[in-house]
Symmetry: C2
Subunit: 326 residues, 2 copies
Amino acid sequence: MRLATFRRHSDEPHVRQVGLVLGQGDHLRVHPFDAGFDLVELLAESPEWRDSQADVAAAKDGLALDDIVLLPPVYPVAMRDFLTFEAHVDGMERGHGNPGPPAEWYDAPVFLFMAPHAVTGPYDDVAMPPDTERLDFELEIAAIVCRDVRDVTPEQARAAIGGYCVMNDWSARDVQGKEMRLKLGPSKGKDFATTIGPWVVTADELDGCRDEDGFLDLEMSVKVNDERVGGDRSGHMGWSFEQLVSHASRASWVKAGEVLASGTCSTGSLAEAWGRTGSLTPPPLQVGDVVEMTIERLGTIRNTVVAGEEPVAAVAPARRRVREEV
Amino acid sequence: MRLATFRRHSDEPHVRQVGLVLGQGDHLRVHPFDAGFDLVELLAESPEWRDSQADVAAAKDGLALDDIVLLPPVYPVAMRDFLTFEAHVDGMERGHGNPGPPAEWYDAPVFLFMAPHAVTGPYDDVAMPPDTERLDFELEIAAIVCRDVRDVTPEQARAAIGGYCVMNDWSARDVQGKEMRLKLGPSKGKDFATTIGPWVVTADELDGCRDEDGFLDLEMSVKVNDERVGGDRSGHMGWSFEQLVSHASRASWVKAGEVLASGTCSTGSLAEAWGRTGSLTPPPLQVGDVVEMTIERLGTIRNTVVAGEEPVAAVAPARRRVREEV
């Protein structure tokens, strides 16, 4: 089942409604659930109950994509981004002059918390952030958590994953590179936009897409201005999403409404190519570029880079103080 | 004005109520606001309106601390931790064999997003996390955001900061150290507990505590088992909280209910001493240790380290895959 969050063009900007997605291409329609349905709560219900409610929605008139704005399917209560594709880490490390992934990469799946308020809709324009000449994309697959869990095994974690979607973790590589010298990871280099969508495909719908180890194995690809620039398979993740949830839940809460993302797949960003070749080829994204990402069974997100509004002035450099003992 | 979040011992575990804190020491009492009051909304109101509501609460019977559990004053919608104390960065960098803060530290205040579900109350026990032999604390001051802002100047940001509290960003240094080799910052090394409290002191109450540049200048100190082990002044931050909000808001949302923290003050963690001296002196925290942090005007948080429950097993190492072109 495909579940979208949307508003009609005539709705107030704060309106969010959940819809059932049926059909394909020009025949695709979004059939509204009754107001009050929450997408994450629907994911937590049994497939049978969800089906019964979907039957009610399907019986109503569907809306064409032209009639609505698709919103981010969820506004995450927290968002974690992992680093699970070995070949991507390999390329990035080579860019830093290292021979390949450090030994620590293989031990456990590291992650960072992302800017939860930066999510944008699947077809929204993305504004060029300030201070960058190296705007990049990151092709990722994301899981939506539908139950609160803590200290769960991968097997137990499976029931906590409600569905999956496509994600583009937009990144300003020059900003990020400076910030990461402080060892805390990126901050302003990644907090301006994270595209998720186009909708959530429920986990039960993808049971047939798992490999012999239970890893979800879907083809992923990215185009810039209609030209394919990269792609991979989600089966190349070093850990399954169930393992990611289990790891995150060790002595810590993972909560309903969280989004956990795979990290960039191999060739799913420009920076990996820059790292491997030592040159800015393909070139950084410019205003007017269109980035389109498709994951098999999950759908396509497509966004145009537009000029940003004038930002507030950068803050002054640090005030230097000689520390006095207190 | 001091505003606390609490529940009575007889309340259901999910109950949260806001209270006005009056008095000191044994005479301290928490006077409940009517149910339905939200702490962040109260911070966003005018001082005059807040005072009028506080008068109503003050007229009711106050509760002694023995009658209640103080909860984290807010459950953050997002939590950012900065790195604003030059002398702390200096000590940590020396631990990595570097001569001092990198030049990038002075340019702009970097931050990371923290685990928002890990906040714990001001007197709660803290469970020893798994896999660590180097548990540490971090003495920080935190601001609570009460309005949604984007692209605001430091001057405009002032109205978005509702109040301040003490924060202990508990850290497992050995776990964190391994994770940070992947360049994304810490993940499991810091996601098990972040203590905030004991309550929020409203920003207007602290107007007299600013230095000539407008930086909040409060004495901060930390004791382990009643022995003072470190301290600093918030005036030694490289940027004011207003500058931190302004920086975070550049081309990005900072939302009501967010918590923004200063990062560790100098001598406000054991790791800084370890970095400076090259030895584990003072020793890492052990079960039974009591960590007490006090910030002038803001109050004291006090937590005992207790044994953790048996965690779920660690996930398997990464599945290695030779990448096939797709």
